[in-house]
Amino acid sequence: MNQASAWHQKGGTMADEIELLRLFRDEMPGPSAGAWARAESAIAAARSEGSLPGSRRRWASRLPASHLARSRLAVGIAAAVAAAALTIALLPGSEPAGRAPVGRGSAPAGTGSTLPAIESRRGLPSAALVGKAMLTAFSAANDDILYSIQTGINRGVVVDIYRDWSWPAQPVTGRQERYRSAFTERISRTAPLKLTEDDGFIYLVPPANWNYATGRLTVVCYAGTGQTGCGYGDTETPPGTWSQHYGRFVNPNPGLNDLRPAALAREIADGQWRVTGRTHLNGQQAIELTQTPAGFYQPPPTLLWVNAHTYLPLRMIQGANKPESAQVDWYFLKPTAANLALLRVPIPAGYRRSGPPGT
């Protein structure tokens, strides 16, 4: 009598081939002490690299997803700056200027942004005061379009860019929100940056902390990018096609509590940021804040610049001076017809529709 039949006759059960596979798996011993040590060593090595976490697709650096969501509470800068930002091409194959790892002082020509030099450390407002002023500024700009550009930089090379539009800037539970996210990436260090995926989502803002929202999703998946497909949530869109879906999808703004203007201001007031100087950024007088070790965004240093007059945030850089860093620039757009048109996802000529039938 063989083991299987004997075990069966003893009352052992095996329902199907999945159970059989699990028996096969269960004979495998767990990791030895050496395996644990090997893994711990590999993680320690990764930690010592001082790198930021990579992108959602490849090795690019980017801020934590929650950072992106939280950033949407931050609104606005001057219209002139916003208009300048909109001149950035959003065409397949377009390539915004690369940015070198940030450092104080002047950047080499063509390498983009640097950390602005501190001009003064005298007469700085308290962090509590800055936080309070930011709250007021946010409230005044809630109904405008928030446009953010999130750039991942790896050892001097821009590796991915997320351009996001949200309107209204501050999602309100129970109200309609329009959201668009255009993702550009470079699939290798020598490849050009290419617009890869463009998603638009019109949805009803769910209650705080809900992970899903119901609405209409449009996805354009660009061809020739090196990606085998695009997906927002559970959808699949092959390259060179576009799709449209109705239903429940990933909430682009989960954790509404974190999105409240009070959140960032509270962090500042709670001692998670300290005011470190005055400077100029994009021609505007700015207050620089540095995150303390207790702050949310890791690894340090993470810096934030706030307009010294409007108290609206201008820029945040995570991992400043690290081999990998990520930068977010915030722009605030008035909801004019031209600006609202930016929330629409353009369908490239010649792209066929894919996705579920009947939608």
Binding site: A4, A6, D26, S66, E236
Partner: protein, 202 residues
């Protein structure tokens, strides 16, 4: 995925302490998943690679897009994918093994591990015949015990695709197993040597 219901990790692993907790919770099952697929000789290095990669990419984990488990297994699948030949070789070796000798009929000692060992060659041969995509879905379901939705998140495919791919893989596995009768614990065809004495094999 309900972030509030997650045990560990799913609220985020960006913080080193959170990552450490996730590592403690998930390393052993991920290691066993890899070990079963490519063998112990490679598993230590690959499992370490999975968690080092996870550490580097930890901020890209988005709990709204799937569980932490599915995210980690997605990395593991990618790592193992680079060792397809090693996996095929291991399965080929397993398929050539003789079933372990029967124990005496005082079968109290017979346990699940022995049953698995006795069926292993046939199962390895069957797995060897599946395509990479079919095998990945099947083993994520059977060994990693991921749901359809988690498999979809791990492999970045639609849940419907995961479901249909799994269904097809299961059907093929059954076919490759030679119609093992789970009700009677026998193979239909002769020569397999797993049927109880005096039944089916004349």
């Amino acid at each position: 995925v309900d972030r509030r219901a997650s045990a560990t990790g799913d609220l985020g692993i960006a913080d080193p302490a959170e990552f450490e907790a996730a590592f403690r919770e998930h390393f052993a099952p991920v290691y066993r998943f890899i070990c079963r697929r490519v063998g112990a000789a490679l598993a230590e290095d690959l499992a370490a690679e999975v968690f080092a990669t996870a550490y580097r990419r930890r901020a890209s984990f988005q709990s709204g897009r799937g569980s932490l488990r599915s995210w980690l297994y997605g990395i593991a699948v990618n790592v193992v994918r680079n060792h397809w030949r090693a996996e095929q070789h291991l399965l080929a070796l397993d398929a050539q093994l003789l079933p372990v000798a029967d124990l005496a009929d005082g079968a109290d000692e017979i346990d699940r591990r022995l049953v698995a060992a006795s069926l292993a060659p046939r199962l390895a041969a069957a797995l060897q015949m599946l395509t990479r995509e079919q095998r990945e879905v099947l083993l994520l379901y059977a060994w990693a015990e991921l749901s359809h939705e988690e498999i979809a998140a791990a492999l970045k495919i639609a849940p419907g695709t995961a479901r249909s791919r799994l269904s097809r893989a299961r059907a093929l596995l059954r076919e490759q197993l030679g119609h093992f009768d789970f009700g009677r614990w026998t193979f239909d065809e002769p020569g397999i040597g797993l049927a109880p004495e005096g039944r089916d094999h004349g």
